[in-house]
Symmetry: none
Subunit: 214 residues, 4 copies
DNA sequence: GATGAATGAGGCTTCATTCAT
DNA sequence: AATGAATGAAGCCTCATTCAT
């Protein structure tokens, strides 16, 4: 046999392991919540043993924190760009933003972390706070800026942007998050396209200084 | 000791006990979530011993279910009344509905159960389903009817009521539920009055056939 | 109203209560075993409240002990009589004893206490010991005496009575106790009459066609 | 320390653990009965912690079931062989069977499980049923066949084999199981040899000095 | 005397974490 | 570095017993 080595098909860089664990954790947390997810579930999903998890993370809570932090990092600095960089017609901009957002919110995997943060906000207030500051507030700021510009450019009526964003995001939340969680319209699903069309129509007619289809 | 009242260690006639237990459970679930709330927490909050809980409820899940059912009962049959009975201007009607809803949702105690149901929907699909059928669908139907009438009477533009209600409720959800959960605007709270004013303004200009303040 | 008293249909003498509790306990122990029988089960069966039980017995164990003692009392002094008083043909005597025993062992209620004592022998060794001394040993002594007399009178061969009683009782136990416990021949039950006939025949005459040592 | 053996706190390869747990459980169940045996008792006896038990068995009942199944497996298929294979004088055959059975039943460890099954039959009817089908019925069938052959070959009188086996097994049960359970003859134990001798003698020849129906 | 609400110790079971291999 | 057997602290639930009414 001598030098014969049974070589594993391929070996990951050890550096990728933590990320794989986080992927697995996200999947399991999304499916069963934090408390009901066992460390072994995560390990199995990640293709590792229970003990190995603890080489990368010091506790189950640490996994959760890392999950939130990982989600935050890329968002932190890129969110405002879109809003800032673009000088387009704000309606077109919102339409674009909605399309992107809708695409992402339709994916349960993407929706998972916000949902988990929401679920565990009571037990991890600092994490919820962190998430809010780094993700939600950023998104809000971006939308606020769009509305603000719309008002300034005369495309939108003189609404209070800080309040108006509730009308911008709220219907999205109702449609995607509540819709998914509660299975509203499960029997006769509303297409995202239809919904977006309606949302923009109503929103724009409300925000806009010009009345269409009146 | 003069007026000293000897507080009985425990009461006998326990007709109110189940309700007291539910009150305590609501409080604790709201604070810590279902999984992290120990039966003993509920017992302590209700002024009972752990074991006594089981005289009234067969399990922790049973408490949760009873909580949902108790909340549902009064709502179930009164929701449509408002919408059906009134023949007012739909804008005034929506304004009235929002005021009532806002008043109720401002009370953290009232907000607690929907929030918990939302949080635990993943783990108790049947309960989420029950809540949806008994509470959410009723509310949706009522709002849909209002919008429908508005369209028929010519007060509103020819929107699709089924989709439009997302614009009616969504901002409320964003403001009250997410706002509380994530502590948005915690530092500089937005008054409910201001928010409602803004919401109605934007919504109405969007729904309405007549353009105000353009 | 005056002297009007709603008189209960009939009232037991308080003295009978303990016996009723024991009857109830026997029934429940028989059905579910000692450990799995709740004091409340006994109370309900006896038509009493849980608390009332403790007026008559100091603990669940006390009930069990009293049960055994009650069963023992009447037996203690009457068992030997039959064997001693009778001067009949020992075969006829055994036949008579078997008939009486079979009648009693066929009644699950009667079988219950021995079975419970058997089941709980491990946990209540003194009680099992008591039962053995007061009931089993008495029965054994009676049978032994019958066999002894049979041998002396020349009706029986020169067997060792102390060992022979195993052949006298064993088939009865196998038929009645094991039969009931394990549901042997449940589908095609063997009539007690048939069994007794066979038992006596084999006991008296043996299996073999050739008689040795006669 | 020279020859000092460092005993590992616990072993790794745990292939024998389930069996060790079952051994421990058998011991404890035999001593205290099923209900009164705590999982921790079993664990301690097996040299494990409470929690470790649950790596091998899903519940206390599962341990009991596994115990019965383990005992059944080896017995199940070997019982009939003896009876079927041999063409000896049925009396000699019975004598051999009794010797083997007596040897096994004399070992308290072996006697334990049937005894526990007997004790717990009321609470675990399915287990009792399983035991009956897999063990008792097999034994009965074997004995029945022996008697049947004896009758056919003219060695035995024309008894009903199905009923006669009660006379074959009953005395064994009375001697070994009841004897041990109730501690009969504890002070002056009867040797198994003596008992077997007596049993065979009476079984073959009967008690009576006169042979009827021969 | 009777009741049954309440207690609280105790049992079964789960699972995050540790650690011998 | 990885594994997974083992631990032990907790949590849910049961129920014998007590005791205010």
């Amino acid at each position: 046999m001598g030098t014969a080595e049974t070589k594993p098909k391929w070996r990951r860089r050890a550096d990728e392991r933590p990320d794989e664990v986080l992927d697995a954790a996200l999947k399991m947390f999304a499916r069963k919540g934090f408390a009901s997810t066992k460390v072994e579930d995560i390990a199995r999903e990640a293709g590792l043993s229970k003990g190995a998890i603890y080489r990368y993370f010091s506790s189950k809570e640490d996994i959760f924190e890392s999950l939130v932090n990982r989600a935050i990092a890329p968002i932190a600095d890129r969110t405002l760009e879109l809003a800032v960089s673009s000088h387009e017609d704000p309606e077109k901009l919102l339409r674009a933003v909605f399309s992107v957002a809708a695409a992402r919110l339709s994916d349960p995997e993407t929706l998972a972390l916000p949902r988990i943060v929401l679920q565990e906000a009571g037990r991890f207030p600092e994490l919820a706070e962190l998430y809010r500051r780094q993700v939600i507030d950023k998104g809000i700021a971006a939308l606020e800026m769009i509305v603000q510009r719309g008002v300034e450019s005369g495309h939108f009526r003189a609404v209070n942007p800080h309040l108006a964003i509730r009308n911008v995001m709220g219907p999205m939340l109702a449609h995607f998050i509540l819709g998914q969680l509660f299975g509203i319209d499960r029997e006769a699903p509303v297409s995202n396209e239809e919904f977006l069309q309606s949302h923009l129509d109503i929103l724009m007619n409300g925000l806009s200084t010009t009345k269409e289809g009146a």
